[in-house]
Each structure stands twice: as C-alpha cells, then as structure tokens.
Amino acid sequence: MKNQLWQIRKREATLSDSLLIRGGRVIDPANNFDAIADVLVVDGKIAAVKPDINFEAHYEYNAAGKIVTPGLIDMHVHLREPGQEAKEDFVSGSKAAVAGGYTTVATMPNTSPTVDNAALVRSMVKRAEDVGIVNIKIIGAVTKGQHGQELAEMRDMIAAGAVAFSDDGHFDDNAKIFLNALDYLHDTGKVIICHEEETSLVKEGVMNEGKRSALLGLKGRPTVAEDIAVARDVLLAEYTGGRVHIAHISSARAVDIVRDAKKRGVKVTAEVTPQHLTMTDELVDPADASTKINPPLRTQKDCDACLTGLLDGTIDMIVTDHSPHAPEEKDREYIYAPSGFPGLETSVGVLFTELYHTGKIDLKTLIGKMTCNPAQIFGLDAGTLSIDAPADITIIDPELAWTVDAKNFYTKGSHSPFVGREFKGRVVATIVRGNLMKLNQW
C-alpha cells in the first residue's frame, strides 16, 4: 500500500505484482550463492532464485551479462532532515540512493534540530514511509544535542524505531558519558557508531597532517587523533561488554587496533568508505573544497591498510558517508567550506573500477560488505535474496563505462572529488520491495 501511494505521487517506479529478473549472475553472499540464475519476485518478496524459472511475470528484466545482488545497504548517510533541506532531503537523498543501487540507507542524527528524542525519531520514521522510495532507517543521537554531556533518551528512541545510535560528526570527549552509554544500551543489543577523532588534536584541522599539509600550510588532522579515539572506544567496549562500531575508519594504525581487539573478542565492528580506500591527501587542492572531509583523505599506506583490513575481516562493511552540502557552501574557501561530499551515486563505480577490475577484491566479498554484513550487524531485515525476504535487489553492469558528472546527480550535493572520473561498473536497476525504480535512464 505504501509503495502504491508513492507510485501515484512519483510515477517513477514500475508497479508490478511479479517481476522476473532473467539470466543475471546472482551473487548473494548471505546464502553463499554465486551462479547464473533467474530471480522471481512476487508481491514484494523474493519467490525463487534458480536457473530457468518458468513463470509468466508482469514484467521481465533481462539481466544477461549483469550482476544481480541483494539491495545495497549504506549504514552511514546524511539525508539532512530535519532542518537542512538545502543540503539534501529524504526525496533527493532517496533518488541518489536508487541511482547508486542502495535500497536501504541509515541517516545520521546531526541535523537541525538533532534527532535525539523519540518524537523526532517517530516523525522521521513516518516521513521515511511517506517518501517511500527506499528504506530509510533512523539513527538517533547518543547524547542530548550530540553535546556529549547528557545521555539522550535512547530507549524511547528504540521504541520509536531508531536502529542505532551515533554522535557522528565529532568524537565524544567525555569518556564517562560514553562508558555510560555503552552500559545503558548493553542489554538492548544496539550499536553505537563512533566518529573517531580526538577533538583537541583536530581543532581547526582541514586535511590530513602529513607531507602535503606541511607544504600547503593547511592545518592538519593527524592520524594519531583517530588512533587515540579508536583505542579508547575499543577499550571501553572491552571493559563494558558494549557494542562499538567504528565509523569511516581511515588510519592504518586504527585498523591494527581494531584487528587486535577483534582477536581478543571485543564487540567491535568497523566500516570504511570508498574514498578512504582509494584516495589520498595528494589530491587535496586548496582552491577546491571537494576533497574536504572528516576524517580526511590519508596516505597510500593508510588506503592499503584499509583494504587489507577489509579483506581480512577487520573491517566489516563499506559505507559512503554520503554528506551533501548546498553547492554554494562548498564553492568557497577551503578553510570555510563544510566537510563532506555526496557518495551514494559514485560508490559502485569507484569500488568496481578501483578494487574489482584491478583484482584487489572478489565480488562476493565486496557485495557482502555492502549487503549481509551491515544487515547482520545492525539487525536489519535486508541484505539477502533468501526466499520470502523483502525484494530489495540491485542490478549492476560491471562493464558499463561512464564519467561522473555532477549535473547528473540526484543528490542536492555537487562537489565530489570523484566528479570527472571515468568508471567501469554502474548500477543499472534498483528494485525496492519488488518495485523496479526507473530513475536510471542511461
């Protein structure tokens, strides 16, 4: 019913009771499945995954030569509602998600006002249902106003539908409050997603502290700030038995710290972004704020360590940290421009071009990091093509070459260091709850 409402308003999806995706290479890491097969969707659910399905579906999609995966999940986006709709809103962000192959996204609470109470969570959940393009999950704040002083009413927010908690955007300096948050959530099983940069060490910093910042004179954000923060939170997770998820890990040493902690059985998980896997601070041009993000682009050694961590399981998942800003906010002096850039629409292109086609990662591992792993960590009913699972499906043409052009973005954000890049591999269809989205006209 929800989807039908959306159909009428948006007229951008093909409503169908049944959909048959023919002849693609189906990769479903949750079921350890990788073979040429058909996927049959009936009433918004996966009905069958096997070769040569004999069924008269309302709609058939020829996926020959394409890769068919569970709908991608991005547990770290900023859709900017409420209050920052000039940067992004649920509609533009959802369209960007569809264009990028994401069927489930989780939006961060550093908005205006901060999503730090049940009333706001409830209204955002409702708003997400009303928009109804992709599944938008709501992450609540750990502390009131994300100020790091008092715990937010997290159990009320859980009751209202919050899937996880985060004071993303900055580090919670107050170790006691953070420890309390872990204890307070202990029996709920909910995860705290941590932005790991020790505050005093990154104050005023706008790029990685290294050779490049030394030459440019831009103030640095050193890796040691991240390492200290990750070490503290890992130790507090170990001490309390709480669940910590390291957001957008970027430092080689921090990856080591997480790896060691996992060996000890600490309940820590971690995520990394396409940019931190593939871009370095050598790309920072002080005349263009596109590269300004937190944590900043690091060095090749750090990229390599993140990839190693991704492959050996230290890093569980890939997120985009989709952080759009209004064009005029980014189109200004490097030190004044806000941090972050949109990532939903470029991630598959980046990852296929830089990691898959170069042979650095196999598809099953890559898709797992974007589907079943986040679903399992955050307890989402998503990320698999199991029978009766919600029919969230992404179809990728691994050979399709394209060039990133901000004019074609669905996000309201414009400045991305990936603009102008040539990629091989693109999402060609996104199916949410059985509905084939038709944003992608290429």
């Binding site: 004179g217 002096e333 030190i335």
Partner: protein, 298 residues
Amino acid sequence: MENFSADDIRLVLNTARKFKQVIRRGGDKKLSNLRGKAIVNLFYEPSTRTRTSFELAGKYLGADVVSITSGTSSIVKGESLRDTLRTIEAMGTDAIVMRHKSEGAADFATRVVKPIIINAGDGAHAHPSQALLDLFTIEQAKGRLAGLKVVIVGDILHSRVARSDVYAMTRMGMEVHFAGFKTMLPRFFDFDGVTIHESLDDALKNADVVNVLRIQLERQQAGLFPSTREYARVFGINEDRLRLVKDDALILHPGPQNKGLEISSEATYCERSAIHDQVQNGVAIRMALLNLTLGGAA
C-alpha cells in the same frame, strides 16, 4: 611560489632593479607603464607593508589603484568570495591583489574571474612577493644568491613567508635551514635542500642570512610555547646570537616585528640588518610584478 621557475625569478629581480632606481632617484616617480589599468587590492586580513607597497607600486606605474579591506566592504554583509571577486571584475578591473586567511584563496580566485590575480598572502600557504623581495634584498647586499646559507627562524608551521622562501631560495641555489621550537615546525616537512633544526645555535653557524619570522602572540595561548620571556631567551635573535653567524651576515624580518620577542632592538637596527631595505625593495618588487603581469612597457 612553486610555479616560478628560476628564469621567472631572475626576470622579476632584474625588472625590480630598474624600478628601484626610479624610486630612489627622487623627484617625479610617476611612470606611465600601466596608464589606464585598474588594480584592486582586496585584503581580507590586516596589512601595512604589503597593501601600501602594492598600492604605491601600482600608482608609481601610472595605474588606478583602489584598496578594499574586509571590514569596510560588503564582505561584512556576508558576500561570498566568489561574488566579491565577480563584482570587482565587473567594474573593469585588470588585476586583483589578494590577501586572504584561507590557503588556496588566490588559486580559487583565478578559477572564478578573469583579471590577473596576484597572491599577496593566502593563509600559511604562500606569500610570493615577500619571498621575491627577500631574494632581491639578499642579492642587492651580497651580490649573489647561489650557495648562500639562509636560516629562517621562528614559527615556520604557520608561516606563508617560510613556505614561499623555501621554493624561491632553493630554486636559486640557496641552502635553507629552518629553526624553531618543535611545536612550531611542520611535521613531515620533506623538501630537497631544506634542513630542520630544533636548536637555534646549530642552525645559525656560518649563516649568510638570518630571516627572523614574526611570532604571533596567540601562539602562546595555543600552548606552543610557555611565555614570551622564555621564547625570547631561547629563540630570540639578539647580539649574542649573531656572534654565531658570519661576520657579514644579513638580517631580515618580514615585519611587523615584536621587539624583544623574536628580535631585539639592537639586532633590528644594527649595521647588518636589511629590514628597512626590505620595505623599499618590496615596492620595487611589486612594481616589477604588476608591470610584468599587466604587460607594461619594459
């Protein structure tokens, strides 16, 4: 500064030599090289030397020069840098001389508008005209540049002068040494021809030139050193310290100075100090830059 080749630098220095004679000859200094050209000084940060010398340099060359400071313009009304630049461009401006707090601001400007952009300082990144006038002053005093040992002392981390000096000086074959408290030295600074010292005395040995940087008082509040007194004792340039350098060593300071902090009064006013010459040379260098970029007569 990184875009200047040795030949470019040589051209600017040679051009400046001619203009210095114009300044020194007295009487009517007004030339007509840039008659009909309009230059706007756009300064987002306070400045005495750089702004005034660019303004006079343009006027001596016959151009029309207007200075805008951030406090008395629509910048306080929140106008963006892009729009301010476009506004200035629309008035028929041929060159914009720009000082800004953000690194990269001048490069940003070159992408936004068509007039010649001259970087008069962008954050801690670059201050090319200062580096060129430093070279000019050194060459005027020493008769050469290649092979000279320069020590740059003080807050290297936050200094656009040091960063531009490094490019300009190494390109002309000079040996550059940095000296400062480790709290004010850039970590990971890796540059051919540059040596970094945490001890001032080690750095100063046999120096031909000592360039003393300004210490901003906010750095003490930021915890980079405990007191101005201790800074002056350990890193201040004074008569005692100057015994370590060569007898004919030259002392430079980009100004404005904190007397008694990074440099003593005796050191400022001693015979070896070229700090006063730097100011006049600054006008000559800026005349050269404007004349060369705006296509004035040779």
